[in-house]
């Protein structure tokens, strides 16, 4: 199963202040550990929201609203992510606990989210049948 470890934004990450050399080194070492364990799929750091764009749909069926960054509420902002492939939820938690505190100063926060698995990865016949039924239902609904 795949998990995304989402590193939340902080005042520092939003201000574009680069992490300390110690943190950089710790992060690099951690990423190497993930690679050596064969669990790392992808990882990226994101630029501050001042370079971001938000597209929202305030009116149902209406035109999208496009707003340039920066955005408030650092906690709701994603500063980076690491995608891992593990065997259990506990293994994902264990890896997340080993990640260095992303920013220090009491603002560091990592959120773990499980990625939806496509139906193939389950070998349960009931689940497969359930998926098929759902798809059929959707197909029927789509037809005028």
């Amino acid at each position: 199963m795949r998990f995304m470890m989402i590193v939340k934004g902080t005042t520092d990450s939003e201000a574009g202040t680069p992490p300390s050399p110690e943190l950089l080194e710790a992060m690099q070492k951690y990423n190497e550990e993930l690679v050596k364990a064969g669990v790392l799929l992808a990882a990226d750091g994101l630029q501050p929201t001042s370079a971001g764009i938000r597209i929202s749909y305030p009116e149902p069926g209406g035109k999208p609203k496009v707003v340039d960054g920066p955005f408030a509420e650092a906690k709701e902002i994603i500063a980076g992510y690491t995608l891992i492939e593990v065997k259990s939820r506990e293994e994902a938690i264990e890896w997340a606990l080993r990640m260095p505190d992303p920013h220090g100063f009491g603002q560091g926060e990592i959120e773990l989210r499980q990625v939806f698995e496509p139906h193939d990865l389950t070998s349960e016949p009931e689940a497969l049948a359930g998926q098929a039924a759902l798809r059929k239902q959707l197909d029927e609904r789509r037809r005028p």
Binding site: K36, G38, E85, I93, E94, D120, L121, S123, P125
Partner: protein
């Protein structure tokens, strides 16, 4: 933390730490079975203590310390018993401290590689190599291994016990092979990994086509090997091959559990991330500047499919050329059969059929259902429906996979309808 929660956490930690623990301990005690026991003892201690003390900051180092103390105790207790242990006791006094520090730093790369060479030792049968590797390097339980191979737990347990005995009897050294032996041993390791992957990818029997756990473990092992032996092009070749093949896992089986062939798969559903990783691994392999080996060539073929936006846009000429290179490097009737398919796609079914007919009489392919299956397909394309039907029926009778059987019977029926038109 309550006990069941501690158990799950300890299991997760075991999976992460077990290979490193076992590898480092094997170096100390020169006995892989004993090393596993010592590592497991350390986990038992952890299960007793952690619910009260909480999980230590560095659980790996904690376990390593406990396990190594036990290893040293064990060696000292047994020094009288056997020259082997007397020698180890002498060595352990010299190495234990430095060793402990090294282990704490996580510098176990070489030990891990040595452990892989050991679990894939030529003295063991293929089944034993796979089982032992899954157990010691992937941290799978006997039950998980048994389930993956649709066999019973006692069978797997016995296989593992016997494998450890064989290794001890052989006194197989925990040394790094070098020179020509290294290449040979490495290719044995890669074979085990790919065997594991294939067993998961194309389940040879039973109702299901894909047993994902095995594919995932093989991939993980491949990725680990790529870091342990980064200068070996075929390691990257194999990783590339597995990543790209795994990118199609979700499209290989239809809604009803029926197999979907490569060219009929919904490419929009291929896992782009795995394709990208596969292409990157292939690039890493090419950058080493040596001629592509068999795994890399197969990966390059897989990459051709991965890069074609639609099946009609597949570069069959390139694929046929890659198969030709592959058949020169690793000649086999199965490669020829695949080359026949590529040639048929590139230059027409008649040319493909010519190649198939050249290999059709080989005894190696006597029970290989894909031979009549491919021959049937080429005959069908040439409009020779009667002959095609017979081939599909032969293929259906030969495969052990129920779903595949259904597919082949459907083809036969289709040809039957056409031939009587």
């Amino acid at each position: 933390m309550n006990r069941p929660a501690a158990r799950r956490t300890v299991d997760a930690i075991w999976r992460i730490e077990a290979p490193k623990l076992i590898a480092a301990l094997t170096r100390m005690v020169r006995d892989v079975g004993l090393a596993e026991d010592l590592a497991q003892d350390a986990m038992v201690v952890a299960l007793e203590r952690w619910p009260e003390t909480g999980i230590p900051d560095n659980p790996g180092a904690w376990l390593m310390t406990v396990a190594k103390r036990r290893a040293i105790d064990w060696i000292r207790r047994n020094r009288q018993r056997d020259d082997k242990y007397a020698e180890l006791a002498r060595v352990s006094e010299l190495i234990s401290e430095d060793d402990m520090d090294k282990a704490l730093d996580g510098e176990v790369g070489d030990d891990l590689l040595r452990l892989v060479f050991m679990t894939c030792h030529p003295a063991l049968s293929r089944e034993a190599r796979v089982a032992l590797t899954l157990r010691l390097l992937c941290g799978l339980t006997t039950e998980e291994i048994a389930r993956s191979f649709l066999t019973s737990e006692p069978t797997v347990a016995q296989r593992i016990v016997r494998a450890k005995k064989t290794l001890n009897a052989e006194r197989s050294s925990f040394e790094m092979p070098s020179g020509e032996e290294l290449a040979e041993r490495l290719s044995a390791v890669l074979e085990v990994v790919y065997l594991m992957f294939n067993e998961g990818y194309a389940a040879t029997s039973g109702e299901h086509w894909v047993r994902p756990l095995l594919c995932q473990e093989a991939l993980r092992l491949g990725r680990i090997l790529a870091e342990l032996a980064p200068r070996e092009p075929e390691v990257h070749g194999l990783v590339a091959l597995m990543e790209i093949q795994a990118s199609r896992l979700r499209t290989r089986v239809g809604d009803q559990g029926e197999p979907v062939l490569l060219l009929d798969q919904d490419r929009a559903q291929w896992d782009r991330l795995l394709i990208r990783r596969g292409l990157a691994a292939l690039e890493r392999c090419r950058k080493l500047g040596r001629p592509l080996g068999p795994y890399a060539l197969q990966a390059a073929i897989a990459a051709c499919h991965a890069e074609a936006p639609t099946s009609e846009e597949t570069n069959w000429i390139r694929i046929a050329a890659l198969y030709e290179a592959l058949s020169r490097q690793a000649p086999s009737p199965i490669v020829e059969l695949n080359r026949a398919v590529a040639v048929a796609m590139a230059f027409g079914p008649a040319y493909g059929l010519q190649i198939v007919d050249e290999i059709a009489g080989l005894s190696a392919l006597e029970n290989y259902h894909l031979l009549p299956s491919v021959r049937g397909e080429l005959l069908r394309k040439l409009g020779r429906y009667g002959e095609a039907r017979l081939e599909f029926e032969r293929a259906a009778a030969m495969t052990r996979n129920v779903r595949e059987q259904e597919l082949l019977c459907a083809r036969a029926a289709e040809c039957d309808a056409r031939s009587s038109d």
